[in-house]
Amino acid sequence: MDAESYDLTRLFNELTGWTFLQIGLVVLLCFLLYHLLRYVVPKVAEHLPARLRLIALNVIPLARLGLFAVAVILIIPMVFNITLKNFVFVLGTVGVALGFAIKDWATSAVAGIVAVFERPYRSGDWIRIGDDYGEVIDIHTRSVKLRTADDDVVTIPHSRIWTENIVNANDGSKTLMCIAEFMVAPDRPTPGITDILTDVAHTSPYLDWARPVKVIICNEVYATRVRLKAYPFELRDQFNFTTDLTTRGRDALINADIKIVATPEFGSYQ
């Protein structure tokens, strides 16, 4: 098809003030509805039973996609005279425009649509992308927002899913593994260390009983690394849980006369 000789008047419907008003109303309604959902759903989700909270939060990105599709389906027939010829022409033109003008935005937007269906992350998940680890608090068309443990909000474009590994700590479930690490002296016996640390986890009020508690021990150059792995029953308690395991675990090891070391042992040469 020769685009230059194509009669553009056949491409468009008659555009009047009323058409623009209708388009404006559709956009406004979809925009308002989306923001209403973004405001209401998280508030309602906070009051739902814990098992339903993550499900409710994931309504938002799906609703955004649905509203976007509805808006496009309503607006296109108002503007364009839809025939096969016009469709192919518009597709080619839009493709070129997207390719040159808004390539990065389009890449992220497409990745965002893929993310909604492939679900490398969902609202409420705890994920790591690069050096950033936090809770997914919002999924926009172009980007995902994380709230880190330090209460920083990090905005990351969806396009990162093409090039980077996404680490999802809970993958939609309501719990995730927490790890408390201890470094103990490698040249001294550690009698009962597994039982001691297992008891520490089993006495934590944050523990999800139904999940296993594991103690993993491995030797490193300067110390023996002991990792206590357990699951809290609530995602948001992960830092409290790790703190609880670490403080009580450390005290229990000291009480059992198991030497905890630092690497290097600062102050040992004073």
């Binding site: 009051h47 039973p49 814990a50 008891d199 089993h202 999800d208 029953f233 609880d244 403080t247």
Partner: protein, 375 residues
């Protein structure tokens, strides 16, 4: 007291079939609960109940009903445990009887005394020939490092016991121990009461409160009326059984709490016009309007959940003991606030979950996502 509709078996733990409310009741209840949490609905007014009803003081439940229920559950215990408990020769075994916290705390102890069996309330296995009954081991369980060591010693002692031992244990304590200790290896058989469903509850209420006309404020129907197939026409008791998790004590207490309005005469004029003259008893109806599940204030909601959870696992606790099993300090006033909400009781310096509030407490903890008991 026996009835064909009452469950007579003790079920093995793991085989408890939790009663379910009809889907429409669950949806309505969930919807209402959500709006209450969002502070959109404040009360449970219904258009069906007459306007001039009054709050009732005292309990509607006759003592005979509680006695009959207790006698029936004693019979269930007899069937499974009495002969085993009186046996003097081996082989010896350790059994557990798991009860919801809404079952009266002294039930197993009373049964033991009534049947003349040996009873001990400490973590010890004194020598003897017939079975030893430990009515409640919850008080022996402490979710602390020392408590776990003590429990391990006790389980070792039970493992080598030279007589039969029956451990009474709360469903929460049992679930905690089963997930985190070797109790299931030591205990050869764990059982619990079978659930009371709508028909069993109807039978119990009819037998002892047959004079009352009990109507659901939600539907306006008599809750005990049956259809031609012998099924209850109204879903009230089915929903009640589900809300009480199948525990008859909890169900009857919930029903008693729902009677917050006194019966008034109604339709008298209509009946007089028809030329029928009934006595007052037939003209009166008692309306049942379920109480809302209490809501914990936001500023101590999280710690409140932990306190209630700890009380369910450990049974009654003194303030110091509560701090010991929670590695986070309990702010001053939390226990009093939970008491004002009607969720806990304080007695002799110890706080415990109020038996009548147990269904509410379990629901609150379930909604908050805390680990629950399993039967």
């Amino acid at each position: 007291m026996t009835s064909s509709l009452f469950p007579t078996e003790l079920l093995p733990v793991g085989g408890y079939d939790w009663p379910r409310a009809p889907a429409t009741s669950s949806l309505k209840d969930g919807y209402r609960r959500l709006w209450e949490k969002l502070r959109v609905l404040d009360d449970r007014q219904t258009d069906l109940a007459p306007d001039d009803l009054e709050r009732m003081s005292g309990s509607l439940i006759p003592d005979a009903l509680w006695s009959a229920l207790r006698a029936h559950q004693f019979e269930c215990l007899d069937k499974v445990y009495l002969e085993w408990a009186r046996r003097k020769d081996g082989p010896h075994s350790v059994c557990a009887f798991v009860m919801m916290p809404s079952v009266p705390q002294d039930l197993l102890a009373d049964w033991t005394r009534d049947r003349g069996l040996d009873l001990v309330e400490a973590a010890a296995v004194p020598s003897g020939q017939t079975a030893l009954i430990v009515p409640d081991i919850s008080s022996l369980v402490r979710r602390t490092m020392d408590g776990r060591a003590a429990m391990r010693s006790y389980l070792a002692e039970l493992d080598g016991a030279s007589r039969n031992v029956l451990l009474g244990v709360s469903s929460w304590t049992w679930t905690y121990l089963a997930q985190t200790s070797a109790i299931e290896a030591v205990v050869s058989d764990a059982r619990c009461f079978a659930p009371f469903r709508d028909k069993a509850l109807a039978e119990l209420i009819r037998a002892h409160m047959g004079d009352e006309v009990l109507k659901s404020a939600a539907s306006g129907n008599d809750i005990l009326t049956e259809d031609g197939d012998g099924d209850l026409k109204d879903n009230y008791l089915k929903t009640l059984a589900a809300r009480a998790y199948g525990c008859p004590w909890a169900a009857i207490r919930l029903l008693d709490a729902a009677v917050n309005r006194e019966a008034e005469t109604q339709d008298r004029d209509n009946k007089d016009k028809d030329g029928k003259k009934d006595d007052d008893k037939d003209d009166k109806a008692t309306w049942l309007q379920d109480q809302a599940v209490p809501q914990l204030p936001e500023h101590f909601e999280r710690i409140g959940h932990f306190v209630l959870h700890a009380l369910l696992i450990h049974g009654p606790l003194a303030g110091g003991d509560l701090d010991a099993v929670l590695p986070l300090s309990v702010p001053v006033g939390v226990a009093s606030a939970l008491g004002r909400l009607g969720l806990i009781d304080e007695d002799a310096g110890k706080i415990s979950v109020r038996e009548s509030a147990y269904p509410h407490v379990r629901r609150i903890l379930s909604e908050a996502g805390l680990p629950l008991d399993r039967l």
